[in-house]
Symmetry: C2
Subunit: 291 residues, 2 copies
């Protein structure tokens, strides 16, 4: 049995709890959370208190991930995370890779759905069709980053930014706002549209009575590639998904917690992991079932 | 530069030639063919004449693949093939794995699209959604196995069996036949529908003047999985493709010829290979581009 810990118990942490409970080869030894939790598993306040575990699944905001991963890997504890700041992944991986190797630990970074399973799909599409264009179209679904940006704007009481796929990797932003007393809608809408997060996209701002009533954790993606295999044009592949966002992120991290222990010391992204390693069961039986 | 040989120069062999010519990191050293070929590469009659190559790409009918792969692996030459007899893959892999390990060679077996890239998609879907059902729907496209079965029936001069996806992994067979002089259509149609290849599927037999006029190497697949991530139901993922069949098979073998040399000695299916290994280029740059 793989001895796992969950670090952080927000939305993704709770879904990770569910996924570990359903995994036949894992047991949950600890949850790390500053809050008191009503769950049948020992809870500790800090990662410093973790011991006798094989892998820690980091369910933290991305900005906190590198520091906590470094701390655990330094102690020889393997980690999995869904770090999603795309522009920093390569550098964070190199830093964690050194620490992991020096301490005989293993890590999979950015093991969510994008980055994560979508990255694997893009790599596979490139192997099939080396020349051409891949478009990743997100949504419809809530964007956390964009929502946080709207909430920071003067006069906004609550907000939700939906990402709508407009094709060819272009996205429309539908922004729903609840205003503070006395705030002027036109001023708020103008400020949102001028924000760095929105200035390059088609953005619609809509005033609502209750943002809470709109919330839904569903999300989706469409990845499309058209191009050339060898010298043959018009090869088309497409990947679609309609999913509960934190549930899928959690499941991919749990599958990656299984995979990480099968690797050599170091830090990896999902495109560097053999897909069979995510799965529970005998190699030959998996080959018979899947290949 | 990876020194490659093509073994067999039928349809897939010709497309493999194209794909190697376009690969920036490969050079084609030999083609093995019993025919005289008008190509600017040394041609030899037998695999026994191959020397100084890193990898041989086997573009042979599946039934000939295991024997030729054994011969090459015994000599320490790595191989890639698109062996597609699903029920035997696990056993053939185990046999080749022993020979490869004993001779410091490497092999990827069943590196086409199904088995092959579809297998990778199915494995990834299972990692994302551990409980549920995956349906693989083939077509529309020609089925070689079914076509050969029809051609063996009395009174058939030429034939083509198209696989049409009917959903949920169920397929309709559209069989186009050219009859020999004096053959009775109803008798032939009845024999086709009673054949093992067709008896379990909805089969339509149609008489045509020219089978040649219907031939098209296009094919497709739809892989659909709906199931549970953690304890969250109704997670849906789907993979679609519309492709030239031999061109894609050839490209995947060529990408696998790159990947195979990065493995430890042994024989692997595609679900056992890190996806990044199929790709040309620097690890960190690929991570920046794809993850």
């Amino acid at each position: 049995m793989i001895k796992a810990a969950i670090v952080g118990f927000g939305n993704v942490g709770r879904f990770t709890f569910d996924a570990i409970m359903k995994a036949p080869d894992m047991e949950l030894k600890f949850v790390v959370s500053s809050k008191d939790l009503d769950i049948p598993v020992p809870t500790v306040k800090s990662v410093d208190e973790l011991k006798d575990i094989d892998v820690a699944i980091l369910c933290l905001p991305s900005r906190k991930v590198p520091e906590v991963a470094e701390k655990l890997l330094s102690r020889g504890i393997s980690t999995v995370d869904s770090y999603d700041i795309h522009s920093n992944i390569a550098e964070v991986r190199l830093r964690l890779d050194k620490i992991a190797k020096a301490n005989g630990a293993k890590a999979i970074i950015s093991a969510g759905w994008d980055p994560g399973s979508d990255s694997v799909v893009r790599a596979l599409m490139l192997a099939m069709i080396p020349r051409g264009i891949t478009y990743t179209n997100f949504g419809p679904g809530m964007s956390m980053g964009h929502t946080v940006a709207v909430k920071a704007i003067d006069g906004v009481k609550d907000a939700l930014s939906m990402t709508i796929p407009a094709g060819s990797g272009v996205h429309r932003r539908m922004v729903y706002v609840e205003l503070k007393d006395g705030a002027d809608f036109e001023t708020v809408a103008k400020a949102i549209k001028a924000d760095d997060y929105f200035v390059h996209d088609e953005t619609h701002v809509i005033e609502v009575d209750s943002v809470e009533a709109l919330k839904d954790m569903g999300h989706g993606v469409n990845i499309f590639r058209k191009g050339v295999s060898g010298s043959t044009d018009n090869q088309r592949v497409e990947f679609n998904m309609s999913i509960n966002n934190p549930a899928l992120t959690a499941q991919i991290m749990v599958s990656s917690a299984r995979a990480v222990l099968k690797q050599q010391p170091g830090c990896y992204t999902m495109i560097q992991i053999p897909p069979i390693d995510y799965l529970c069961g005998d190699t030959d039986e998996l080959i018979r079932a899947l290949v």
